[in-house]
């Protein structure tokens, strides 16, 4: 597991700020009323994969809390917790990817996407609805339909944006062994 050092603390803060800015000010309407394409989950998945589960958990928690906080419509704990959980799962499952080595080939893409699909399905398809049922006693089929729709939309955006970000980031890092001693 990646250590939670100074760099991770800073990454958490910046990640939460990015999550906030994208979630609060950048909204692409998806055509379905009241649902926007959430770009912030692509970024959160990327940050979690690079900096590990604790960073992902806290960045999701702080970022989502501040989004709810700034809208002032009440903090929706069930969804805030699910965002944090998503960051944590992706951080765990993608921790094997070696970003600093500058390699993110086909296996990295597959690994990253498996992590984000599992993360979204568990967070929005299971955790958020269950919390809604426990906290607000909402009817089960309503919350599960809501949860699965947002899981689907989020998986697609994360697959496109998150993968693009990972590729762009690793492309900027020099590969291991790219320098050779002169003969």
């Amino acid at each position: 597991m990646k250590k939670f050092g100074v760099r991770s603390i800073v990454a958490t803060g910046i990640g939460a700020a990015l999550f906030f800015v994208l979630g609060r000010f950048v909204a692409i309407p998806s055509g379905v009323p009241n649902t926007n394409i959430a770009l912030q989950y692509g970024v959160l998945a990327f940050i979690s994969a690079v900096f590990g589960p604790i960073c992902g958990l806290l960045a999701g928690l702080i970022g989502h809390f501040f989004i709810d906080f700034s809208f002032g419509w009440g903090v929706w704990w069930s969804w805030v917790i699910s965002s944090a959980f998503f960051g944590c799962i992706v951080g765990f499952l993608a921790s094997k990817i070696d970003f600093e080595g500058g390699e993110f080939g086909v296996s990295g893409i597959i690994r990253f996407n498996i992590a984000q699909v599992i993360g979204h399905l568990v967070a929005w398809g299971a955790l958020a609805p269950v919390l809604d049922i426990i906290i607000y006693a909402e009817p089960a089929d309503k919350v599960f339909v809501q949860g699965l729709v947002s899981a689907g939309v989020n998986i697609i955006t994360t697959a496109v944006l998150g993968t693009l970000l990972c590729i762009a980031y690793t492309a900027a890092i020099p590969k291991k062994g790219s320098l050779k001693e002169e003969e």
């Binding site: 800073v10 990454a11 803060g13 700020a17 700034s70 419509w73 089960a140 309503k142």
Partner: protein
């Protein structure tokens, strides 16, 4: 910055409480309101929250925009609940009383209406408190006070960093977006759906790459100054607890105890007038 988080600086007893106190009270209050479904307690919480709202000297005018948002959300959610599960009340309360002789799947029942009333009360009892918290808490003081209630200072520092860099990142996003528009990339509503996604990706990649660079610069600067070497740190915006802070927290703690007591008396989370 102040605008972004709706912080309104006005002298009032609520403003004088520390950020940590308000955060703890918010958590306890919402925990009490979330856990109970006792109509009498919810109604008392609604009245109580409105009184505290007045004490905090926040005017309806200050928060009307946010209230509008919440109202729309509540209406949509209630309609969805009814569409998906018109007999949810019956499932909870165990009886089924049809109103006005209606029948069929979408017939109104007294239990359903009572469930919706409780649902509404639940939100009404927390919304004023959340609005009050948002309007009376200085975000920087909030970050520093997190440390005081037992959260590790590295985590509260991450919160402080997020608050510090939100305006910068917002500005940078805006600059990149304008640079793109200057080169003729359409990002407004006129562009097609895929066009807008592509344009967003075009902004995101430079934004994230420069943020990664920013992470390196900030963490180097912090490491050079020995961040994380000591067990504790002091806070510029921190304030010590006073008597009223402890009283406020104790009061909210009592609410949680009351919710637990009512759950014990009612034999469950629901107050059932139908039996």
């Amino acid at each position: 910055m102040t605008n972004l988080f709706n912080y309104i600086d006005r002298p009032s007893p609520v403003h004088r409480l520390t950020g940590a106190t308000k955060f703890v009270c918010l958590m306890l209050w919402s925990f009490a309101a979330m856990s109970t479904y006792d109509t009498r307690m919810l109604a008392a919480l609604v009245i109580g929250s409105m009184i505290i709202f007045k004490v905090g000297r926040i005017k309806i005018k200050d928060v009307s925009f946010m209230l509008g948002f919440t109202a729309v959300f509540l209406v949509i959610n209630s309609i969805m609940i009814f569409v998906f599960s018109p007999r949810h009340g019956t499932e909870i309360y165990g009886t089924c009383t049809f109103l006005w002789g209606m029948s069929g799947r979408y017939a109104l029942t007294a239990e359903q209406l009572f469930y919706h009333l409780n649902y509404l009360l639940k939100y009404l009892s927390t919304i004023p408190i959340v609005l009050l918290f948002v309007c009376t808490t200085n975000p920087s003081e909030f970050a520093s006070s997190l440390n005081k209630i037992g959260i590790k200072y590295s985590v509260s520092y991450a919160v402080a960093l997020a608050l510090r860099y939100i305006p910068d990142i917002q500005k940078q996003y805006h600059e990149i977006s304008q640079a793109g528009q200057a080169r003729g990339i359409e990002m407004t509503k006129k562009a097609s759906f895929t066009g807008r996604i592509k344009a967003a990706a075009g902004i995101l990649i430079p934004l994230i790459m420069s943020s990664m660079e920013r992470i390196d610069i900030i963490s180097n600067a912090m490491e050079l100054r020995g961040f994380g070497k000591g067990k504790k740190r002091t806070w510029y915006m921190g304030r010590p607890f006073k008597v009223q802070d402890i009283l406020a927290m104790a009061g909210c703690g009592l609410l949680v105890a009351l919710a637990a007591y009512l759950a014990y008396v009612n034999g469950g989370r629901y107050y059932n007038p139908f039996i």
